[in-house]
Amino acid sequence: MTKENINFKYILATVLLFIALILPSEIMAQRMGHGASRGGGRTMSRGGGHSMSRPSSRPSNNRATTNRSSSRNKATTRPSTSNRTPSRSINGGHTKNKSRDFSKNKMPNRSTNRATNNKSTRDRSATGDRSSRDKSAPKLDTRNRKTSNVKDRSGNRGNGNRGNNINSGNRRNINIDNSRTVNVNRRNTYVRPSPRRYSRPPYAYGGYRYYCHRPYFYHPFVPFYWGPYYHPWGYFVTSLATTAIIVSIVNDNDDDDDEEYHYENGNYYLKTEDGFVAVQAPVGAEVPDIPDEAEKVEVNNTTNYYYGGAFYEQNKDGYIVVPATAGTIVPGLPEGGEEVKIGDVTYVQFGDTYYQPIQVDGKDMYEIVEVKKE
């Protein structure tokens, strides 16, 4: 009997121990099972006890459930969740024509369909939230960012108002006014077409074709300085040396231009109230001599001289400033140029002249682009 009793006790104890061990895990399993079958988010939003038992480190699972967010709103822990959820969709949600009737669906104009009133107001509130957040935590301010200068070819091309004022900015550290405005005279940036046929296909962008003989090879635009006598455009002097001469301009058809150009050592100046300001070489100017730094460039099977961004042709009296010819390769460009992204390429622009960065025998150079309307 005692043996049986002991045996029975042992069996009872084992069974009790077994039950005690099994029961909690079973309960756990049931709870897990509920969660899985009903969907974690919904079960949690139903019972307060459940949500209490869950650690708060998993709030993101339930962002989309409206029940939960409303209960959370009462607790004011995440007030913006319910507002933010709908507007966070990357495209405002899929919209479709339910009837699938094509006659009504003639013009699903993208811009009108997308820019619904609801969305725009929601967006604004979102940005408002953000700015207030920015105030609390100082961050990199990207709101008032400097934007690119947008150029436009269409319409007012050639009336002289567009892009003439090229602000060359604060790059130079010379004792001159850095905020000066370099005025690129469009008449002097006219490009003569290339006499050679282009073997490369042009680069087409925005209704214009850009022809070049050589392939595009980008290098950053760094203004070139032609020795100690060279003065970049915009350079101001109060007086000129006595060797300066007043240049005569031939072949000038523009009647409105009665300005006197003063020439000295390859630089051209216009007289202002206080003194003289360096400008680009006027096309047609005839000068007796050019600086020794002038480089020979091959243009149209003749030799031209290139100095300070101007092209000279030699004649019996001296040198005459000629317009740039497309296809000419030059080693450097003066200050006053502006890098402009035109589709996939970046050119340097002076008024109407575009220079394509190229490489010749390992050296960075520029080729004058021929621009034709399509």
Partner: protein, 254 residues
């Protein structure tokens, strides 16, 4: 006797009018019949657009191959891989690396910045309020290409139905060990084929565009590494110019 006669005229008018309406409607319905759209294909496209429309943020990678004509009018292939992140309605980040260089777009809801990694220069422009408006405007004004942007338009299916005369479901195909629904859409200029993954979510897996009028030039893309609703910090969409990077001007297309 006069009245009945007078009454007759409006009746004839009514008949004429109804005939006219009938004609107009029949012509309209005829033009609808011209389009051959498979309901299964439309259903799959709708489901895919639903999934995309419900996303709050997404990142994925895109392998592209693009055909271009070279100087001798031969077709030249260009390859690139893009990493694309959308977050909310007004954040986009794209990095494109490939045979045409490395480029990046940052859109933070106010500004779009385009940075050319090889040239170390960038363009920053004021941009519209939403990602899709921005994509539209930048494409029209500056010819910026945002890879696979078409899939993210809210009325993607409607756009497809409007643009293509025929949309067909060609069955289930396996690409990259993923079962996909194969859909072909055609019109007189384009042949577009989509493979929409049926793995877990209906998301695009692969697509090909064939330009019929341009020597059958092809544009081909494979989607991979989909990451749905990741938590991307807003700062990731702010562009900070690298040292010595130059802000340059930009020429508007038209």
């Amino acid at each position: 006797m006069v009245f009945p006669f007078k009454n007759k005229q409006p009746k004839i008018m009514k008949i004429h009018l109804s005939l006219l309406f009938f004609l107009i409607f029949s012509v309209n319905s005829f033009s609808q019949i011209n389009k051959d759209h498979d309901s299964t294909a439309i259903f799959i496209l709708d489901k895919m657009a639903d999934v995309i429309g419900d996303l709050q943020s997404v990142t994925f990678e895109l392998d592209n191959s693009t055909d271009q004509f070279d100087s001798n009018n031969n077709i030249e292939k260009q390859y690139s891989t893009s990493t694309i992140s959308f977050s909310g309605p007004n954040k986009l980040r794209v990095k494109i690396e490939g045979t045409n260089g490395t480029k990046g777009f940052w859109y933070d809801g106010s500004y779009l910045s385009f940075y050319n990694f090889d040239e170390n220069n960038y363009v920053t422009l004021e941009a519209p309020e939403t990602t899709l408006e921005m994509i539209d405007e930048m494409h029209v004004n500056y010819d910026f290409q945002f890879p696979a942007a078409d899939f993210f338009y809210p009325n993607f299916t409607d756009d497809m139905m409007e643009q293509f005369d025929s949309i067909k479901f060609l069955g289930k195909k396996t690409i990259d060990n993923e079962e996909c629904y194969h859909i072909m859409a055609t019109n007189s200029e384009l042949n577009v084929q989509l493979w929409i993954s049926n793995k877990t979510y209906l998301l695009p897996k692969h697509f090909v565009m064939i330009y019929k009028n341009k020597s059958n030039l092809q544009y081909e893309s494979t989607f991979k590494s989909w990451n749905l609703n990741p938590d991307i910090p807003d700062a990731a969409f702010d562009f900070l110019p690298p040292p010595r990077a130059r802000l340059i001007s930009i020429l508007k297309k038209s």
